[in-house]
């Protein structure tokens, strides 16, 4: 029942908020619905902790891994909703770009992502991942400018093609299962496939084929490098809170789907093939994204490439295998969400004040916007992977695992990439913060208390996770790992 509630709240909110003609009412409805949803998530996580696996009907299931990712979406949803209160003062009002459309589409987006997390059935997983693309396409093209429309089109087309390949991979896995004797009516159910995995060795060629298509398909949504062309455009042109959600939650959502398939494949034919493929994608993503970050001119595109790089690190973590690397990878997804959200929020304030995101045109931010600069410094150091913030811990774990399994090439590549990223971020951020302050085109809007709260909470999360991982959080992570074993 709690699972159905998790899905019902965002869906109903999406419909209800459309009827609120006044923006104040829309915001109020959205905030209260968000609080309700977070309460539902907390309830579901508590139930999972006590029961182990929640199941509702044939198609909804939640286990330890689900709990971890639900925590992720809950935290980011809270941050984004609070931030949006201040952000929505500044969107240009049009026929379809009003607060009620914004919140309606956002909650629809949240509904589809939670549906992905709660899918018990691989077919339903596919349907929900495809719906996340459809739900967020209108959000990417929200502003209807040339850049937004182009980014939205590219996002829609590239991701739909990618997801179509993932469907092919799903069908190949289904075929392999049925040929190995699993009952066709339940051969798409994840738990059934996990149980039957050892008997799938006979069709290993088919399973390898299926994993290749899955990696390419869902990898497109994660942003692995040959298939990443939509990511910088979409994350740069979307409204800032949506960019944060795309980077922080959607990429993790697609990663969740990939992880589900990876576990089945590893149990069926051993982890050699699938993990090698993930390592290749991870290394490519890390290398290309790090290099491209140096030459970026737009702040949000820089952050988008940083997301690609971090997803590459997560892929390397999963590909290395073993408890340490896997723990690091999952921790990294959470850390990255929080850090990237912080950076996107500061980018939003920069845009509000300077009316541009071209880093060349922004100077002297430290003097003009002291608090925003503080947020950007904290976020920048976090994304570069330096202590005392959480990303350092997770990257360190992955590096240790790389050295531990004698994968020296990967470890050195990772260290080089992180250094390049650090250099790029230092260069860009320093150029924006220092220097003679430019004239602000608009009168400086005051930072609302909500803005302070949002940045503060992010910073606190990052520091806490960087210094000492709380026991409860570590437990959630461990139970997620158990699912993946």
């Amino acid at each position: 029942m709690s699972l159905v509630l998790l899905l019902l709240v965002p869906f109903l909110t999406a419909l209800i908020v459309l009827t609120c003609k006044q923006s104040r009412r829309a915001v109020a409805v959205a905030i209260s619905a968000g609080a309700l949803e977070i309460a539902a998530i907390a309830n579901a996580m508590w139930r999972i902790r006590s029961v182990g696996v929640l199941q509702f009907g044939r198609y909804l299931r939640a286990d330890g891994l689900t709990a971890f990712f639900l925590l992720n979406i809950g935290v980011i949803l809270a941050l984004v909703l609070v931030y949006s209160v201040g952000y929505l003062r500044h969107i240009p009002l049009g026929r379809f770009s009003s607060p009620r459309w914004f919140y309606s589409l956002t909650f629809l987006f949240v509904f589809t992502m939670i549906a992905v997390y709660l899918s018990a059935n691989l077919g339903m997983l596919w349907i929900c991942v495809e719906s996340t693309t459809l739900a967020s396409a209108l959000l990417v093209g929200f502003y209807n400018t040339k850049g937004a429309v182009e980014a939205g089109w590219k996002y829609l087309v590239v991701c739909t093609v990618g997801i179509a390949f993932a469907l092919f991979g799903t069908i190949a896995l289904y075929l392999a299962a049925v040929k190995s004797g699993v009952d066709p009516a339940s051969a798409l159910d994840w738990a059934v496939l996990m149980n039957a995995a050892p008997s799938l060795t006979a069709t290993s060629n088919l399973i390898k084929l299926s994993f290749v298509f899955i990696a390419v398909g869902y990898g497109t949504k994660i942003g692995f490098v040959p298939m990443h062309s939509w990511l910088p455009d979409a994350h740069a042109e979307a409204p800032t809170p949506i960019s944060a959600m795309l980077s922080a939650v959607l990429l993790n959502c697609a990663l969740y789907a990939l992880l589900r398939f990876d576990t089945i494949t590893s149990h069926a034919i051993g982890s050699g093939f699938s993990h090698s493929l993930l390592l290749i994608f991870g290394c490519l993503s890390v290398a290309v994204a790090a290099l491209l970050m140096v030459v970026q001119r737009d702040l949000k595109r820089l952050l988008a490439y940083s997301s690609i790089e971090h997803m590459g690190i997560v892929a390397i973590g999963v590909g290395l295998g073993g408890p340490l690397a896997l723990f690091g990878a999952l921790l990294h997804t959470f850390n990255h969400s929080v850090a990237k959200s912080l950076m996107f929020f500061t980018a939003g304030y920069v845009r509000e004040n300077f009316s541009t995101l071209r880093m060349r045109r922004i100077h002297g931010m430290a003097r003009l916007l002291p608090w925003t600069s503080a947020g950007m410094v904290v976020g920048g150091i976090a994304i570069a992977g330096l202590p005392p913030f959480g990303l350092f811990i997770s990257e360190f774990m992955i590096l240790t695992a790389a050295f531990g399994t004698s994968r020296y090439f990967i470890a050195i590549l990772l260290m080089l990439a992180i250094s390049v990223v650090f250099g790029a971020l230092l260069h860009h951020v320093q150029r924006m913060l220092a220097g003679k302050p430019v004239d602000l085109p608009v009168a400086k809007p005051k930072l609302l208390p909500t803005d302070f709260a949002v940045m503060g909470v992010c910073a606190v999360f990052l520091i806490v996770l960087g210094v000492h991982i709380p026991g409860a959080f570590a437990n959630i992570l461990q139970s997620a790992l158990v699912v993946l074993k």
Binding site: Y59, N121, K146, V161, L188
Partner: protein, 220 residues
């Protein structure tokens, strides 16, 4: 009666050939509406195959899937696309970046490639080799159409052909997926086409043209 049954059986057994013919015609088509009609014919061929399977195995689920294919892919989506074309009032030219003969050659090459790709799997899995090859050919042809045609609507049609290929792959394996999943997939497809149509209008309104090869502002 026997002759009609024989003819129907023969037609169904050679549905792969009909799919190849529609692909070749799509490669040489010069207008968008031709491609939409050919896509509709492809979906109708698929629906006929599913109906044959339903008739042979007497399963209600297969009849339901066949009716879904007919309503969504043969009627609804082409109708939607035709309405978009009419409201756009744009030229129906396909804006191909390869000439007719080159496209047909490439399509023929893709068809032969798909046969070679399918050969190892068909033997070991004892599947219908022709249909599986047709599935891969549709997949590759959809990708080729998306890459080589510069109009936004042609990219949508290429995507639809690609998804058709995946459906034919499901057909070739003769194990149909649970009905709920199939309904979900069709619903997603319909929503996807609807959203893409919406975006085509937005492209036309903001850019004043429908040539996606000119959408190159965001680079790097």
């Amino acid at each position: 009666m026997g002759l009609i049954e024989l003819a129907a059986a023969k037609a169904l057994a050679s549905s792969a050939v009909f799919l190849f013919i529609t692909l070749l015609m799509m490669a040489s088509a010069k207008r968008i509406s031709t491609c939409i009609v050919l896509f509709s014919i492809q979906s109708a061929i698929m629906a006929a195959e599913i109906l044959a399977i339903a008739y042979a195995s007497k399963s209600i689920e297969a009849y339901a899937v066949a009716s879904l294919v007919i309503t969504v892919k043969v009627i609804a989506i082409p109708w939607l696309l035709f309405r978009i074309i009419k409201s756009l009032k744009a030229s129906q030219d396909v804006a191909a970046s390869t000439t007719g003969a080159q496209s047909v050659f490439i399509m023929a090459g893709l068809i032969l490639l798909s046969f070679f790709a399918v050969a190892p799997y068909a033997k070991t899995l004892r599947l219908d080799e022709d249909l599986l090859a047709a599935a891969i050919a549709l997949l590759l042809a959809g990708a080729f159409l998306m890459i080589s045609r510069k109009k936004a609507l042609m990219q949508v049609i290429g995507l639809l052909v690609l998804e058709n290929g995946i459906f034919v792959a499901v057909l070739a394996t003769t194990y149909s997926m649970p009905l709920v999943i199939e309904i979900g997939i069709f619903f997603d497809l319909l929503m996807g086409v609807f959203l893409m149509g919406l975006f085509v209008f937005r492209i036309r309104d903001t850019f004043e043209h429908l040539d996606v090869s000119k959408l190159r502002r965001l680079r790097g």
